[in-house]
């Protein structure tokens, strides 16, 4: 399954001038794109409606609450978006464990020793003492993004549900732990927000190579140039497999 997915290539588009079109490399399936879109929508709503309550004394806090239509509306928006995000998390886990047939251990999101090496090489590269590391399907930064979001989702969804149904939660856990949930929820949310706005947006929006944005989140495709530069190992792998299949086909004839 993994081999098949990694060599999905769109048909080259041939323009009117009879030149070769660009080759696009399939990076995300529509399913993954859709999950990301839902994530963006719910996350932004949750940040906007939640942060005024994390910093109630800030000057912008009442402004945002009034723009959202009052405190009751803010609460409704936050709860609705939160439930949608919990649904998304459940869908993600159910789909990628039970529906996706690819063996779980062979997935490329698991951290490996190469990632630790790449991490060190990246720092060396920043100080001009090494080459830029070559990445496979996912770089160590992307794996950190994914697992950071995974950890954040688990923490925020569990504590959020406790805060949404505090008296149901009290039947299961002591009252004091319900208060712990507020600390965990708000602090984790702040961490997630800062990480997304600073680090993730730098990687996919502000970084000079992709500015104003990498279109992979809309189309799911990467251009050949981007593929060579950002995922060199995967590119080489795809090319090797294409040659093999090509040779097999030709030998078969």
């Amino acid at each position: 399954m993994s081999r098949q997915r990694s060599i999905e290539i769109l048909e080259p588009k041939i323009t009117g001038d009879n030149k070769m079109g660009e080759i696009f490399f399939k990076r995300f399936t529509f399913n993954q794109l859709f999950q990301h879109w839902v994530m963006i929508g719910t996350f932004m709503l949750l940040v906007i409606s939640g942060m005024p309550l994390k910093f109630p004394d800030a000057s912008w806090s009442p402004v945002i609450i009034n723009l959202l239509g009052g405190f009751a509306m803010r609460t409704t928006i936050h709860h609705a978006a939160g439930i949608a995000m919990v649904g998304l998390g459940i869908y993600h886990i159910v789909f990628h464990i039970f529906v996706d047939k690819e063996s779980i251990l062979e997935r490329k999101v698991w951290p490996t020793i190469k990632d630790a090496k790449d991490f060190w090489q990246t720092i060396m590269f920043y100080f001009g003492k090494a080459e830029e590391p070559k990445y496979g399907r996912y770089s160590w930064k992307e794996k950190f993004d994914y697992w950071g979001a995974f950890w954040g989702m688990v923490m925020l969804c569990v504590t959020g549900l406790i805060m949404l149904f505090p008296f149901k939660a009290m039947e299961l856990i002591p009252y004091a732990y319900v208060h712990l949930a507020t600390i965990v929820h708000t602090d984790e949310a702040l961490l997630a927000t800062l990480f997304i706005f600073i680090v993730h947006w730098w990687n996919v929006h502000y970084c000079p190579e992709v500015f104003p944005m990498s279109k992979a989140w809309l189309t799911g495709n990467l251009s050949e140039e981007q593929m060579k530069h950002e995922h060199a190992l995967e590119y080489e792998e795809i090319m090797r497999q294409m040659n093999e299949t090509g040779e097999n086909k030709s030998s078969g004839r």
Binding site: M170, A176, L190, F195, C207
Partner: protein, 352 residues
Amino acid sequence: MIKKKRKYIKHQVKVDLSLEGKTGKAEDIYERYYRMTQLKKCYSLIRNKYLWILVIMLSVFTGVIAAQQDISCYHCHTKVVTEFRNNVHYDKGFNCADCHGGTDVSNASVVSYSVMSGNFIGRPNRENITDICSKCHEAETKDYKTSIHWDAIKQGHPDAATCTDCHGVHEIRAIKDPNSSSNHQNSPATCAKCHSNKEMMSAWYYGIKADRFDTYKESFHWRALDKGYALVATCADCHENHKTKSHTDPTSSTFPENLPNTCGKANCHAGVNFDAKVATGLVHDKESLHTGELVFNKTGLSPQMKEYFFGPFDLAYWIAIFFKILTTGVIGFFTGMVILDFFSRLKIKRRF
């Protein structure tokens, strides 16, 4: 010409015409007499006794009206009486004498000594204020006398809250009035007048905390109230406005075992199954953690409470610390990476 002069003579006093030619011309003399008579008319107005009677009657009349509006007190106690005009009792026809004693008959003179006579008490003692209010508000006073505030007054701490501290001294507004200090929404600010005052709190007895409003501010109740959502609990909803008691008092609404009834009031979290687990919560003490210090003084606690506070509350402290380190670490590190990334790209561009 003579005819014209006779016109004057008609309604003037006699003019001695023999003087003509000796003291001056006849016209000048007539002229002088004419002016004199006009002046006399004016003087007669002042001498008019009917006019004076009218003036006296008018002043008496205004005095009677003034007496009804406490004008007599108003001469000196202008500010107080102005405040009293906003009082709900003023609308119902009460006047100064109903609380301060003395007669309510006033003559509106500058010093209304007749008001300050009889059973006039002047400024009541703080211990006596309940006696004045209890004349009408019997049930409320009875409730108040079970409170910890009244205990403190009895024990010789007259600074403890009495009726006027929450309801206002002269400007007692109706409870539903949004400007009333005892209105639901204004309850936190009213209680904070004393309970955020460290000197006042330490004067009462050692160990009472002055951060009650600050810790309430961390709760969702306050955050919603502060942003205009009024259907939440404020001080008086949990601590009982008149029957305020210590949370260590078994009859208190905030005693751990009574919390299920307090939180489960009809308009609050009704229909929720509370059990003993709820009872272990002390709402105020958790959140001072956000300021980074463990506020709760664990000395002198019952073993049961001690077990409770050494558990999750220390955990909360460490969780807060953990997230501080995690957030600062992760965001700081990755922001550094972003900056390094940016500069490395600049270098590459310069090379080529």
